[in-house]
Amino acid sequence: MSDLEAVAAAAGPSGEAPVQPRHKSKTDKPRSLAGDAWIDLRKSKIFWTAAVLVLIIVLMALFPSLFGAGNPRECILARQHGAASGSAILGYDYQGCDVYAKTIYGARNSLQVGLLATLISGVIGLIFGLSAGYFGGWLDAILSRFIDVVLGIPFLLAAIVLAKRLSADPNSNGVLAVTITLGVLGWTTAARIMRSSVIASKNQDYVAAARMLGSGPARLMMRHILPNSTASFIVVLTILLGTNIASEATLSYLGIGLKGDAISWGISISEAGAFVRTAPGPLIWPSIFLAVTVLAFIMLGDAVRDAFDPKLR
């Protein structure tokens, strides 16, 4: 209704051509897909659980001192595998470091690497998917084959080889190398999703109308095609964020991710693995934090996708 009214008003008494039918009235607007999804989401227990967990993890990464953790770098060998006490509620690890403090401070690196890598993947996926889907033809053929090649290499193998090469400098703590590795390898799903939803929406009537009104490719993509593809794209990126955090921990565990004095759940798990028979605590706690973090992001993505997918209603 509102669109028609806007067109009618524009073509009204002044006799001008219908220029831009995009100033819709905000009142009595029919509920959009996003509005529908939000109403669904508000009722979802999984969504709220995930949202609260994500909030806690973000707080942990930004302000670790809020959680009353001590100094994670203060390690005294005399306390090796010491029992829990008032200040270190989870006890001490092999090096005599406070397990609770190390676990809390580990959130920052995980989240930082995960977010930046997802951002890189998102940008690459957006550009590749959008141009492949919009322009089609030979560009699409080349980009799609390229995606096939990247998908043809098992992910962890490629990540290990690439991270190993990028982190050759012994002085770096590996954050940059891991971020680039995960970002460069993780964009394929995002690009595929983008491409298929662009192809689905580029032949719609409203896009044809906008093209007739003289919009160029950039404007068509940004204003008319992209908004309809964002929902599934964001869902993919949320889940990717979860898997990126898991991959960072895996690479760190294998000794080619974060290293040196960087604090990472993966490193903690790897170090504690050798003493699991005598002191399982330093292994268990970072494992739980890592698993819950990954779970939170995957649950969030899952819940949002269910809300946006009308087929599942």
């Binding site: 043809g152 290499i153 098992p154 290990i160 080889v161 895996t250 294998l254 990954v294 995957i298 649950m299």
Partner: protein, 308 residues
């Protein structure tokens, strides 16, 4: 169909060379001085240096070196690792172990996933269904570096049901726990796909017809629904192979299984270029061939699928 296979084979060739080239370049580019690394502490005379340079084609351009390597690889000559062992020998020892491990993992995962997936697909919204969905979500988000040490701790050490590590010649029983850990990587997706396709097929016309003909419930589900629901699950196995091989790197390390992942991981740590490139090349080939076979199997199982 024939054209499809040819196109896929060409694509595989492209992927194979792309992947091996990237790995080769990353492992061998900007090496300091491979000859000195080979000699260790001892000084190299000029003559030896020259002879070795010629033997290993070190003065040739990078692409020519890659060509020589691929020529060896395709004729079955993988070269020697930095420790002096023949990589071909290492592979013949490592592959059977990993194949056994992967087979046990796939069988366990597929059995559990199909049984549980069919039950929760039939009883959608029931308690069983909801519990299964939550469990798959948790399994889906447990990284293998969390799952493997924890399972080793709980089932291997605390409860003592399984041997905590496998050792040089693992028995079937020693491989069950690692296979369970490895299979958990794929069990969640397989279960969800089974559930979704059972639920979809239950609503289809041919199931209604079968019911209307008066067939028993067991026959409708066991024959009509199950056979059609398993088709997408079969195709998933192809995708799973890649995940299993990646997961094997961590799992074989934790449980001390001398398979492909174990060797590969050690090779990466010690920067053993020939070993890594050799193993990765074979892994990529396996991955590509399995995926092609699965896609062809898909067409054979489902007559509605036709490749142009």
């Amino acid at each position: 169909m024939f054209r499809y296979i040819v196109r896929r084979l060409l694509q595989m060739v492209l992927t194979f060379f792309g992947a091996t080239f990237i790995v080769y370049a990353l492992m061998f580019a900007n090496q300091d001085d491979p000859l000195q690394a080979l000699a260790g502490e001892r000084p190299l005379t000029q003559n030896v240096r020259q002879a070795l340079t010629e033997r290993y084609h070190l003065n040739d351009p990078f692409l020519v070196q890659y060509w020589y390597y691929m020529k060896g690889l395709l004729t079955g000559d993988f070269g020697t690792s930095l420790t002096g062992r023949r990589i071909g020998d290492m592979m013949t020892q490592a592959w059977p172990v990993t194949i056994r491990l992967a087979l046990i993992a796939i069988v366990i995962a597929a059995t559990v996933a199909v049984v549980a997936g069919v039950i929760s697909g039939i009883r959608r919204g029931s308690l069983f269904d909801n519990v299964t969905l939550v469990i798959t979500l948790i399994i889906l988000s447990l990284p293998i570096i969390v799952l493997a040490p924890l399972c080793q701790l709980i089932f291997g050490i605390k409860l003592g049901w399984f041997p905590p590590t496998a050792g040089a010649h693992p028995s079937f029983w020693a491989l069950v726990l690692p296979a369970l850990v490895l299979g958990s990587l794929v069990i969640a997706t397989e279960l969800r796909v089974t559930r979704a396709s059972v639920a979809e097929n239950l609503r289809s016309d041919y199931v209604r017809t079968a019911r209307a003909k008066g067939l028993s419930r067991n026959r409708v589900i066991g024959v009509h629904v199950l056979r059609n629901s398993l088709i997408p699950v079969v195709t998933l196995i192809g995708v799973d192979i890649g995940g299993l091989m990646s997961g094997a790197i961590v799992t074989e390390g934790v449980f001390n299984i001398p398979g492909v992942g174990f060797n590969l991981f050690r090779g990466i740590r010690t920067e053993d270029g020939p070993l890594v490139v050799g193993f990765v090349s074979i892994l990529v080939i396996v991955f590509l061939v399995v995926n092609l076979l699965v896609d062809l199997l898909y067409a054979a199982l489902d007559p509605r699928i036709r490749y142009e």
